[in-house]
Subunit: 302 residues, 2 copies
DNA sequence: GATGATTACGGACGCCGTAAGCATA
DNA sequence: TATGCTTACGGCGTCCGTAATCATC
């Protein structure tokens, strides 16, 4: 029983359009994406329209600009795809260009805060004193693309996962688990639950939270991992300083979820036991074949 | 110690160029790729030139047309990337279009030859008599892209691996191991080694082989897995019929490596013991979330 | 009424096909 | 000499920017 379908001559999705789509989705705004990418507002609008036209689906709701179901599905493909596109170029040019004398290391704020990190850098400088090392901090997204593009040789990323799980796969990049620590919720001292020894995340679904996208797990991620609605944002915090964030939480502006190791003594914080969650740090690098320095760093961290 | 690199404003590699690059590399010819893709010879030449220009590396040698080291590296990225590009479109449109009433199953020739396959199809038809099933056969490459594009709902692929390993990752597609069988070399009856109970692959490096790309593992793959040079081709065979291939091998036109289960009684064939190799069959499918029929099929095969 | 997405239109650039050139077996 | 890759050039389509329009808060 063999039938011959009409051969669908569907042609390549334009990655240019995917790039702006991802940017628009992540910024939640056409105009913001336009300035980010150096386009005009109209161009971005045309590009999204073209993409939606091509796929015959609406990808974003407007006002507010949020991915539809189809858009969310597309994002799952587009992000690793663009990462690999960058990695492809970087990986090929790395073959010809002479390896630079400086090792550039990326870190997300909470990953750089683990004790092993400065120790490993110190050990590395000790062992290879002639190696010039540069450390750059940034968000997970930026760091991942920088590693893919070859702007960073190696990076430490952090994220919230079920214990034993890895961080979401960064398509062509390889990741090595470095550390896993329990997580805790920072509460104001007089919070009704502050005396509990431990608590379930869902008990706090109705509380007010701080949306601190650059440091703490996003509320959307918390919703996904806890499997519950709620976790509404009472305050946005843009920045990477955990001290400030903890101060805000302690003062009652909202709750925040942090790795236990990042919370100083004296701060009211309760461990989260359900669901089982861990703050995980991973070492990320591109497809360097003879990865000498990265391997050394991994050994020190591991 | 923070330094600010010159921000490399590298822009996206054109996937259009990647597509033709992959085609040229796999066909080993500009003109053949041109006809395959519906371009003119000149256009393909320009595209490859543009890509090499963009990356500032020669990607292919000419005459013969073979990937350079940089080209090979680029291929490693380009193939899964293009697969994912197809999968992205297919995955999004699948959300809107109503699921077709017919299940389309792909198989590579040797995967379809395992006993479990026709049995599973039979069981599936029995259990879901109203489901229309179509089976299509093809090469691994074609089948993988068809699954990615959604032209196939599910597929069985086969390949040669070290026992326990999976087939090379098909980027966004998920694979489930189905079966693993030992491999054997088909020899002419009067071959000096025909009386051995078992043999090392490297003992046959100097022999003449049949390059049967569509059925058996390619000689390049055999070289890679055995870690030895040699395995020169005495005869090319294009086709998927193992009987013909075995007849050629038995008649002394060259050796060929096949899964033991695909070799009938009476044919002179010696098991390969070193290196440890297995013929592996995997079930491949796209990112169908509620994969009812595929799941059922997997269960039957597993 | 202001912010922000969409539509209209014109110019520039890119890309492919035709055709001529050139190297290698 | 023939096959097959490369270079030259012209036309067509695509895509972005400017500018005007429309919708929503």
């Amino acid at each position: 029983m063999v039938s011959c379908h009409s051969i669908s001559e569907t042609y390549d999705v334009d990655v240019h359009l995917l790039r702006t789509f991802v940017t628009v989705a992540s910024l939640g705004s056409f105009s913001a994406a336009a300035t980010e990418l150096g386009y005009t507002q109209a161009a971005v609008s045309q590009q999204i329209a073209a993409l939606e036209n091509d796929l015959k689906v609406q990808l974003l709701t407007r006002r507010p600009v949020v991915p539809t179901e189809a858009g969310a599905r597309l994002l799952e493909h587009a992000e690793p795809l663009l990462l690999r596109l960058d990695a492809a170029r970087a990986d090929v040019v790395r073959l010809t260009s002479t390896p630079p004398a400086t090792l550039t290391v990326g870190v997300t704020p909470l990953a750089g805060a683990i004790p092993a990190f400065p120790a490993a850098i110190a050990a590395l400088r000790n062992r290879m004193p002639r190696l010039d090392i540069t450390v750059k901090s940034g968000t997970r997204q930026r760091i991942a693309t920088a590693v893919a593009r070859g702007d960073l040789d190696i990076a430490l990323l952090d994220g919230l996962v079920a214990p034993g799980d890895s961080l979401p796969e960064q398509a062509p990049l390889t990741a090595i688990g470095i550390a896993e620590t329990p997580v805790a919720v920072v509460l104001p001292r007089d919070h009704p639950l502050a005396t509990r020894p431990a608590l379930r995340l869902t008990d706090l679904a109705d509380a007010r939270w701080i949306e601190a996208q650059d440091v703490a797990p996003s509320l959307a991620e918390i919703r996904r991992l806890s499997g519950a609605e709620g976790f509404r944002s009472a305050l946005g915090y843009q920045g990477t300083d955990t001290q400030t964030l903890i101060a805000l939480a302690t003062a009652g502006h909202g709750l925040t979820l942090l790795p236990a190791t990042a919370i100083p003594e004296g701060v009211t914080a309760i461990a989260v036991t359900t669901p089982r969650l861990a703050h995980r740090v991973e070492l990320l690098h591109g497809t360097l074949r003879k990865a000498s320095a990265p391997a050394a760093l991994a050994a020190m961290l591991g």
